[in-house]
Amino acid sequence: MADLDRLLKADISHAAAQAVKPPDFAPIEHRAAKRRRTHTMMMAAAAAVVIALVAAGSSLVIGRESASPPPASPGPPSPTFGSMPSGDGAKDQAIEPGTYRIPSSTWSAVDFTIAFPEDWTVQYGNIYHHEPHQDLTLEAAVVDEIFTDACRGDGVPKAVGPRVQDLITALRRQPGPATGRPVKTTLGGYPATRVDLRVPKGLDLEDCRGADDDVLGLQIWHSAPADNYFVLFPGAVASVYTFEVGNQRQVFVTQNRSPHSPEARAKLQAVLDSIRIDR
């Protein structure tokens, strides 16, 4: 066997550097310019909304107390929404208390509105955490693929059908996490089915494939559209809410890492109860 010290040398990096030459810079410049244009357009649109709101004398966020007297215009005020921080990768950004309209995207099949009180942050623009300990998490998800085994196996997710029942069946077939029978409930004004998940007692997460990436948890699914794994952490209770809007399956998933705390449960439920689906 070759000596490790002899192999771990910088000549590998040098060989790699010598094997390439800088490509044309123009496509890189164009890629950045395109992103800047998109960003500028979004900023301009946001600025236009702010100007319109200021002109109308409204506060930016509905449900937020305002020091100024209400406008004298007749009729009910039209609802206005805060601007959700778009997120900068994994960095958490604070959410101003208020109501937000979240457009459909790779994360959500439908548009929805959601209200946050204080102490919530957003990551990747779409994963909402309760601070300071991130004990509560909520996100919408588009789930096209699910792992047949959340712990072991090849780590390659399998396609899941488009119906509500397809996802529920796939979740319940995963060995371990599903804790009981699906529960009929409502979310956003729609009849929904909830499946609760927990890491089974006695399961050593060090033996699961997530440990290879220093993640001690169960990989429930990988949402390919959003490039987002949903990982169930030890001691937490995750609830997957699934329902149909039109012909589309909408999924919300929560994770409560303080499941025995009535206060934590109430905080999470309050945010869940604020969700309204826009069609």
């Binding site: 990096s13 094997a19 810079f25 410049e29 310019a33 800047r36 220093d214 990988h222 490039d227």
Partner: protein, 179 residues
């Protein structure tokens, strides 16, 4: 083109911000690809993550041109990009994705790169940036967003794991040779 040490951007009056990023690109592109090759284990992937880091530099060029060490900034961005993309590569590989591309290396070094790809991401990054890219530990810590002590622990664990992986690979090939 030789790999010249990075030149600071100060004293470059008359150049636009984009020109300055392009200068860094020409001076640092190959070195960064060399450093990221060990992290990615694939030359094409290393080129793509470095190109993406430069795209973000152009996107934020007004800030970028005032950085004290733009190459360190690019390295950090490239490592972050590689983390996101690594999950995709693993999925693609499991599905029979693209072939991995390597520079001209002898068999022992190719085996080392193959073993490195099997390490947990954090250990792989530390080993690749410290031993293969020859960066001091504090720069590895900066590039990976980790404390120095954590990097040292990852290097220690990573070396031990790498030794086991290499021994397994060589044992398997010996067995195959002797039937």
């Amino acid at each position: 083109m030789g790999l010249q040490p990075f030149q600071p951007l100060t004293g470059r009056e008359g150049l636009s911000d984009t020109d300055m990023v392009r200068d860094v690109f020409e001076a640092s592109y190959r070195r960064l690809v060399g450093q990221l090759y060990g992290v990615c284990g694939d030359l094409t992937e290393a080129e793509e993550v470095v190109a993406e880091a430069f795209a973000r530099a152009v996107q934020h060029q007004r800030t970028f041109v005032h950085l004290d060490n733009p190459e360190a900034w690019l390295r950090t961005v490239a490592v972050n990009v590689s983390r996101t993309r690594f999950r995709w590569r693993r999925l693609a590989a499991a599905r029979g994705g693209d072939e991995v591309r390597h520079p001209a290396l002898d068999d022992d070094r190719l085996v080392l790169i193959a073993a490195l790809r099997k390490l947990p991401a954090a250990q792989r990054e530390a080993i690749a940036l410290h031993y293969l890219a020859d960066l001091p530990i504090h720069e590895v810590a900066a590039a990976t967003g980790s404390p120095v002590g954590t990097v040292k622990a990852r290097l220690s664990r990573g070396r031990a794991a790498l030794a086991v992986l290499l021994a397994d690979i060589y044992d398997s090939s010996e067995e195959a040779r002797h039937g």
